[in-house]
């Protein structure tokens, strides 16, 4: 293609670009540059008429390069590549210029400079475009199976949807039972239906589904391969019980003399050293806690082994590893509550009667430590006055900046728990704002805020002190009435902030998924692609993408599953276009590129009497490290050749020509 014919298209993006710079002037400037046959501006280049404009120009002017100066290529590169394809051009003859995110959105205070920059960027693209060439990708088949990491409501919903679509699912759960946080809740807002009643049937569905295999008490330790063909290495932690023999009868749990704080009850209850996570656990299989088991700590007891009717106890069990080959990965590891002891002014962890919202859920649950009675942890008495503190750690510069998105509705639900169990109790709700945004939430709020002896006070408590009887004394400045209120409460409930789970950081490094400023997984696009990641084949379900309540989590998980099903149903993945390519005439066979490749994709072999490098197109992921290492310029990277990058650099370094 010696005759380079470039079309330049400058988008206004409404006022986003057009309100800062004059796109017509940028197009006019581009029109004078070498090889540019036609240049235009249009109000919305990505719209149907905008796309048609380019498509018709390609045919009319016989264009063989297209430059679109608009938003980030991360947004609309595929859109405009589609235009090229429809017009019969190879999609990699497109060059995007980012004049929105990198220019008008950040330099609107200096519009002349922004326009100058836009002209520069377009000129660099024109220089670069002359060196573009056709790239043809190859297709590889996908493995029609998926790993879902995390067995909370998000992972459960995603697994069921995938499995119902005929896809083999491996559900990995770090605890011994699936169910997640939702299993710990007593009721769900705003309908007040019993959490277990709506969750446990789904847990059973998961365990009985022929397409779902649960790996409980397991974790993902490594992921290799790529979209469509991942190898996921899973560590099965030792449970000291042979689950294949165990029937879940519970005889061992019943007779075990060991005791430990019950995690499922958020430390309020007591469990045995061999235990089920909770009565409705799925799979219903026990685990030995080696820190509290008498055999592991003192070398005595072995009662569980004696009473087990099937001989399933195995003190010598060691961890095992399995490798799963899947096409897609759905991350559904949820959230964690912020460490409330960091809010030192509230005394959580120091004062027994300052509890978390999740602890109140356990107190209110029929299978909880108090069999559903709301009693003070310090003395087991019924509280007469209860304070509920919203935004405990949330929306706070010193702790967590963002909103937890369910604390308000949970607090209203907690008002119900208390008034339902203790009709005479007084409830004081300390709020910053009440954000009752979901379907039915405002009605839910109005219903309970007008209950007798329920007071909503706009303010955050100052330091909490503990009285001799375990009651809690503090001041609150009510910003609605401009009054300082002195409060004495028997129980204080903190609606805590939400953070990503601790195991997310190592996992996201394995998966190569970026995170947002709050540490949650970064979605591909906040509005259009909120359940995909920048890594193909890896999807996000639920609160790991950001705090969510149950309805939003379920919707998000179903969307992630649908997206994963679409990805797998397509049946193939395309190789990355940015592959390394060797110019065999220039290659001296020096082999410097071989150890540089992180994927072992390069080999050097004899060809026609000379040693030359060879790239495995399936293994190569297109980083370009080899091209930066090659001393002779023989190794190049598609779409980022030395010529392409340098031609851009020359213009940008020298200014608008």
């Amino acid at each position: 293609m010696s005759d380079v014919r470039i079309g330049v298209y400058v988008c206004h993006c409404g006022k986003n670009i057009g309100g800062v710079i004059n796109p017509a002037k940028v197009a006019e400037h581009a029109g004078k540059l070498p090889n540019v046959v036609i240049s235009r501006d249009y109000v919305y280049m990505c719209s149907s008429p905008g796309q048609l404009l380019i498509e018709e120009d390609i045919k009319k002017y016989n264009l063989n390069r297209v430059i679109v100066a608009a938003c980030s290529p991360r947004m609309h590169e595929p859109t405009f590549q589609g235009v090229l394809k429809r017009a019969g051009l190879n999609p990699w003859l497109l060059q995007m210029v980012n004049v929105r995110e990198h220019d008008t959105w950040v330099h609107e205070n200096v519009p002349e400079k922004a326009e100058e920059k836009a002209k520069d960027l377009v000129a660099a693209a024109v220089a670069r475009a002359a060196h573009l060439y056709e790239i043809n990708t190859v297709r590889a088949p996908v493995v029609k199976s998926a790993v879902v990491i995390g067995g909370g409501i998000a992972g459960i919903r995603a697994s069921l949807d995938l499995a119902n679509a005929g896809i083999k699912v491996y559900l990995i759960e770090k605890k011994q039972s699936i169910g997640g946080k939702m299993a710990q809740l007593d009721k769900t807002f705003p309908t007040l239906d019993c959490s277990q009643c709506i969750l446990t049937p789904l847990m059973v569905d998961v365990s009985r589904h022929p397409n779902i295999e649960i790996y409980a008490y397991s974790e993902v330790v490594d992921v290799s391969g790529s979209a469509g063909d991942f190898k996921v290495k899973v560590r099965l932690k030792p449970t000291y019980v042979d689950w294949s023999k165990c029937t879940g009868c519970g005889a061992c749990v019943e007779k075990c003399p060991g005791r430990a704080p019950k995690e499922f009850d958020e430390g309020l209850g007591v469990r045995k050293a061999i235990y089920f996570e909770f009565p409705q656990a799925v799979p219903r299989r026990p685990v030995i806690d080696t820190e509290h088991c008498l055999w592991f700590t003192k070398g005595i007891c072995k009662v569980c082994e004696k009473v087990c009717p099937v001989g399933a106890i195995d003190y010598k069990q060691v961890e095992r590893y399995v490798e799963l080959n899947v096409g897609a990965i759905v991350v559904a590891i949820g959230y964690e509550l912020y460490d409330l002891s960091k809010l030192s002014e509230y005394g959580y962890g120091k004062f027994k009667n300052v509890i978390s919202g999740l602890q109140l859920e356990r107190l209110s649950s029929a299978d909880g430590p108090t069999r559903g009675k709301i009693l003070r942890p310090s003395d087991g008495k019924e509280p007469k006055t209860v304070g509920i503190v919203l935004c405990a750690g949330s929306r706070d510069e010193n702790h967590v900046k963002y909103c937890c998105r369910f604390g308000c509705a949970a607090a209203i639900k907690h008002v119900y728990y208390i008034k339902h169990a203790l009709p005479d109790a007084k409830v004081l709700v300390f709020y910053t704002d009440v954000r009752a945004f979901g379907k039915g939430y405002e009605e839910f709020y109005q219903k309970f805020r007008s209950e007798e002896n329920v007071f909503f006070i706009r303010g955050r408590p100052a330091e909490i002190f503990e009285g001799r009887d375990g009651s809690l004394i503090f001041d609150v400045y009510d910003s609605n009435t401009n009054q300082l209120i002195n409060v004495r409460a028997d129980l204080v409930v903190l609606e805590g902030a939400v953070v990503p789970p601790k195991d997310w950081e190592p996992l996201r490094r394995i998966l190569k998924v970026s995170c947002d400023p709050g540490g949650f997984a970064l979605e591909l696009h906040p509005k259009l692609r909120p359940f995909e990641t920048t890594s193909d084949g890896i999807f996000l379900a639920g609160a790991i993408q950001g705090p969510k309540d149950i309805p939003d989590t379920v919707a998000h998980a179903a969307a992630a599953a649908a997206s994963a099903i679409g990805f797998l149903a397509k049946g193939y993945v395309e190789s990355v276009p940015y592959l390394a390519v060797v110019n065999e005439d220039l290659c001296s066979g020096c082999s410097l590129c071989v150890p540089i490749c992180p994927y072992g994709a390069i080999s050097v072999s004899e060809k026609e009497g000379k040693r030359v490098a060879k790239v495995d197109v399936i293994k190569c992921k297109g980083c370009g490290a080899c091209a930066a290492t090659c001393p002779s310029g023989a190794m190049q990277q598609n779409y980022f050749t030395d010529k392409q990058v340098l031609s851009e650099v020359v213009v940008l370094a020298g200014g608008a020509k």
Binding site: W105, K512, S514, L522, T534, S535, C623, F640, L652
Partner: protein
Amino acid sequence: MSGGEFEPRIVVFACNWCSYAGIDLAGTSRIKYPHNVRIVKVMCSGRVHPEMVLKALEEGADGVLITGCHPGDCHYISGNYKAMRRYLLLKKLLGELGLSDRVRLEWVSASEGERWARVSSDFVEHIRKLGPLRLKEVMEGE
């Protein structure tokens, strides 16, 4: 270059996965930073050939900023470490020419729009203090 204050010209290499996305985030968050920076996208900071940096300085850039994912975060496992090793060698070479202050390597993640604004502002100010490079004029003059 407008009259009055010296406006440096900065070429930036940004990796697709972290830094380019972080610079995009500065855009979507409308975080202002100096207009002097011109961004060149590469898939990985490990793709940045020393020649690209030298070419930028030779052709008129007053400074070059290479940005990549934080250590441990590279989309391609270890490209940023390769970039760092190359950068350290390049700094030695540039030191011989008295230019080592003109090139900087920074880590900017996809969530660090604010950090990008800080890093780019710092570098622009740093180069502004150093003054224009004019390597091209000098070389052509010789």
